[in-house]
Assembly symmetry: C2
Homo-oligomer: 357 residues x 2
Amino acid sequence: MTDALASGSTIGILGGGQLGRMLAVAASRLGLRCHVYDPAPDGPAAEVCAAATCAAWDDEAALRAFASAVDVVTYEFENVPAASLDLIEAIVPIRPGRRALAVSQDRIDEKDFLRDLGLATAPYATVDDAASLEAALERIGAPAILKTRRFGYDGKGQARIMVQGDAAAALAGMNGAPAILEGFVEFSHEVSVIGARGLDGAVACFDPGENRHEDGILRETTVPARLTASQRTDAVLLAARILTALDYVGVMGVELFVTASGLVVNEIAPRVHNSGHWTQNGCLIDQFEQHIRAVAGWPLGDGARHSDVTMENLIGDDVDRIPQIAATQSALHLYGKAEARPGRKMGHVNRLTGPAR
Amino acid sequence: MTDALASGSTIGILGGGQLGRMLAVAASRLGLRCHVYDPAPDGPAAEVCAAATCAAWDDEAALRAFASAVDVVTYEFENVPAASLDLIEAIVPIRPGRRALAVSQDRIDEKDFLRDLGLATAPYATVDDAASLEAALERIGAPAILKTRRFGYDGKGQARIMVQGDAAAALAGMNGAPAILEGFVEFSHEVSVIGARGLDGAVACFDPGENRHEDGILRETTVPARLTASQRTDAVLLAARILTALDYVGVMGVELFVTASGLVVNEIAPRVHNSGHWTQNGCLIDQFEQHIRAVAGWPLGDGARHSDVTMENLIGDDVDRIPQIAATQSALHLYGKAEARPGRKMGHVNRLTGPAR
């Protein structure tokens, strides 16, 4: 632990949502303080952080003061503007590093990176206009899905093209933003691996979880996932290859389609991930602490799971069920958000289903 | 959950040490905010609380502002001055209630209360001067232990009387404070039950842990404790009797001596307890969340344990071992205290020893 941050050091977190909140709580267990930076006031993270800066991403004075007040910077979402990161990085290290952010901020760059690593992805093509969309559909075929290259999450900025005739409307929906056409992948189910890489290069992965989405939003993750032993090994090796290629430091979420011909990478997220929330109650060291350990230069946990878990997201009106859920043997994790809007992640609940199988 | 605090409500915590810190983290999981009150600046709790008041216990304006800013008040230690509590209670409920505090603040009142409930305690007598000490020693015999009636913790304010000749020095050590003489109890080991009672009167207990002390300070708690099935039942029934007699709301620590003739109550603490820290990694709902659930009027967890655990306190210089401990599969819980003084609790570590037996 030569390079490790000592107890009492401060971790800066870019983004003050629920992921930042749970990172801050994990940091407190290691005796570390957190300072959150977010343009929005009163986000979920600030109330469990030692310090909070509420300022715009282009507020250079605020960014400088923030960077000078902390020992290392991490982030809870991948769309922090590059100029803000440049300014911070001149003062203090950012972990995970810029390469991971650059790759995951752009769906084409991400797919190119994965393909260059020899990993399977959905067929894809760049779409800038009607002509390139037509060419892409020619090659990939319908059904396919058109997505903005940047700034998409939870199914936002996406349009399905079931038949050629849907193409014009889908393209219009991109509002002129650079896009990617992705072919559909025939898969039986989706799993994700939450992997981590330490400052010393050590890699540790949690057991893959099986994800079920509704309306493009993660609904449930179940551990263990339905996977053969060799699929399980493949998933871990693949995650390790990605982490190492990026010289990554921190936790990453890797979403995988399980297909008859092997695992296909859906997408990567350079941060703690919703599909890893089960680790809070299934593991001694959860994904949030694992991420903090990595960015603070501490040794990683080994990812061992003591219990099988089902994680359910509480979205929008699901908060009405909290009184019933609270009366059952389940671990609630609420984010302290005042207003429950449709599609808004308000919390999640972990249920143990027995000792780890 | 008719009387339950809604997500976004604020819990006031009197005392800003590590127990307050871990209570605040647990509250965050339920979407609740915390506001800590402590005369000392920069305590462990403030950095994970939404608000902190640093003011003296007799600062009436600060106490009133604090009480007006929160929805309920709880405490992490039992020696909050009664006048401060009077002032707060005129504005907002205090949980656990005043009766539990009064009883546990005074060793004679506590013993009287337990005896009136029909529970076994060490033989004891009030000591105010040399004459009453002589009479007490006459009745109880040596060896015995002389303790201040109030404000003792971790072996402070105590003197052993091995032979009659030690009496004068022991009495001098009390500095004129009212005292209690307690006879020694022949016991094989000490266990503690962490019990909880909800606002609705429901009682839930965690499995008893076995405690090992060094120099009067808890060193290690192991779960499960060495107890027969009937001792286990006795321990739970006895804790429930205490909780109900006090119309208690919250978590209580009950320390018990295991003797050939049954369980003898050593002491009770009207708060989360060091010997319950194992629940953070052995249970889905730990003692801190259980306490928050109780004071917030939520349903209690059932106390179920998924894993066997050994909890080790990290005291003073033990912090030098943190790098080694961090490299093993164990859950560190550090309190963020800057200075490691001898006897100071700096953190603890939970190690899982297998699925619950």
